[in-house]
């Protein structure tokens, strides 16, 4: 095992760990608050996690079995690429629900456009496992100094012709619209949330697009080990770590982050409303909670405020 092999193993282990960390944190949020948006984001995280795990296993198997690729490792790594690609569907669904709000016709175009190219290779994998190595389906990216090689689905070049424009248009539209919304929002927390979401989406997409685009389309990247290492590093840092972190923070907005971003109104929530008695003949009372107005002195809580009642 040489340095390059070890690099790929460690790189994929870190990816797997980061993905597991983010998807389990988001699962905890999902259990607490079962909203559709969180579910969609979690599915995106989860399928990336699976993809990374499969790819990781295939790297490890290959490293253990010295130089030759087995059908198993090919299938594993191929499946993981399909999972990566299918993430575009889930991230679109998330972005659409939150930001784009496309009408159902446009949604249908996107989903059919995404799902059709995905369904095809899934069938091909099984065919290929049965018929053994079919060079039409796989090409090996040989890393000259490494004893690892990466499996790339050749047919996917055609598939990507459909996925590419749709994926990129979805991604650009999400980012542009989110920036516009962020500009137009007054609420400081929401503004910050949007910023994280578009930045996270941007980095996430960029990392993977870079990975696929370079390895599949630009020959020098699939033969030059240094370039491949750089690409994998970029993908690890921008997609798996920073991208996911930003998406998670932007969507979930944990309390500690709100506190850091917000003014003191987020620090201590106490009841500072007033009880008012209705005008004239009415005898009803009401209480309106005013979060913005409280200060340190008002921390006495609401029992003090209730005394205001019969003014």
């Amino acid at each position: 095992m040489n340095g390059f092999t070890i690099f790929f193993l460690v790189n994929s282990d870190i990816s797997v760990l980061a993905c597991i960390l983010f998807s389990s944190s988001l699962l905890a949020v999902l259990i607490r608050k079962r909203t559709m948006g969180t579910l969609l984001l979690w599915i995106t995280f989860l399928s990336t996690t699976f993809a990374e795990i499969l790819l990781g296993i295939s790297f490890h198997l290959e490293a253990l079995s010295a130089t030759t690729m087995t059908t198993v490792t090919e299938a594993l790594s191929y499946t993981s690429y399909i999972l990566f690609a299918s993430n575009i569907v889930f991230l679109y669904a998330f972005g659409n629900r939150l930001i784009l709000r496309d009408n159902s016709f446009i949604q249908l175009v996107y989903f059919v456009g995404f799902v059709f190219p995905l369904a095809l290779p899934v069938g091909l994998i099984f065919k290929n496992i049965l018929e053994f190595h079919d060079p039409n389906l796989y090409t090996k990216v040989s890393l000259t100094i490494s004893n690892l090689s990466i499996v790339m689905p050749v047919r996917s070049i055609a598939l990507l012709a459909i996925m590419g424009p749709l994926g990129i248009s979805a991604f650009l539209r999400i980012v542009i619209k989110a920036i516009r919304i962020q500009r137009g929002t007054k609420d400081k927390i929401a503004k910050e949330g949007f910023k994280y979401i578009w930045q996270g989406t941007f980095l996430w997409y960029m990392g993977y697009t870079l990975l696929f685009a370079t390895l599949w389309y630009i020959p020098v990247f699939s033969t030059n080990p240094v370039l491949i290492v750089i690409i994998f590093m970029v993908k690890l840092i921008f997609s798996d770590i920073i991208g996911f972190l930003l998406l998670y923070l932007g969507w979930v907005m944990p309390d500690w982050l709100k506190r850091r971003l917000g003014t003191k109104s987020w620090i201590a929530k106490v009841y500072t409303g007033e009880i008012k008695v209705s005008e004239k003949k009415e005898t009803t009372k009401s209480f309106v909670y005013k979060q913005e107005e409280h200060t340190q002195q008002q921390k006495t809580g609401f029992s003090a405020v209730v005394e205001v009642s019969d003014k």
């Binding site: 079962r34 929401a190 907005m253 009841y271 009880i275 009415e282 009401s286 209480f287 209730v306």
Partner: protein, 177 residues
């Protein structure tokens, strides 16, 4: 961050859900809003949908059936709500803890953050009711990130309803601008 959903709707329309235990007076409250007077009701089976047109806003009001067998339907409606009205029968002391527990659960797991939540201590016309101060002393909403208020109302006399809705509609409009 789910609350950001609402920021993009160039809302001409707001979804409002009315939840609460059975017999709380939800349907009577909605009827008062629509007809301006008390109308006798029957227990709601499932969900009633009413539309209220305001000058700047159209309210789609979902009046949820409060009986236990219908509570499973609430999640879906609440998830899309731009505002929540929670009706508490102020004379039903026996089920006070239950109704609070259900309200907490809705706030925690069903509705988006930062939406306005209007809590009604309903049936104010009856003498054996619980007072607002007593209600506030028993509750704690500090852990929920919503804009909430509590009004005493009655669908029999109409007291408090206009005041409560004025607050609620103002909050709904503020989030839609």
């Amino acid at each position: 961050m789910a609350f950001i959903l609402k920021l993009f709707k160039k809302i001409k329309q707001s979804n409002v859900t009315i939840a609460g235990l059975d017999n709380a007076g939800k349907t009577a409250f909605v009827n008062y809003l629509i007809k301006g007077t008390f109308v006798p009701t029957v227990p709601t089976a499932g969900i009633n949908r009413e539309t209220i047109n305001l000058p700047k806003l159209q309210l789609a009001v979902y009046d949820l059936g409060g009986q236990e067998k219908f509570r499973g339907l609430w999640t879906q409606v609440n998830e899309k709500a731009n505002g929540l009205i929670y009706v508490i029968d102020s004379t039903d002391k026996a089920r006070f803890d239950l109704t609070l527990q259900i309200l907490y659960e809705i706030l925690e797991t069903q509705v988006n953050e930062l939406i306005p939540v209007l809590i009604l201590l309903h049936k104010h016309d009856l003498p054996e009711r619980i007072e607002l101060e007593e209600f506030l002393a028993k509750t704690d909403f500090t852990r929920f990130n919503v804009k909430w208020s509590c009004f005493e109302t009655s669908a029999k006399t109409g007291e408090g309803i206009i005041k409560a809705m004025t607050w609620f509609i103002k909050e709904l409009e503020a989030q839609t601008q």
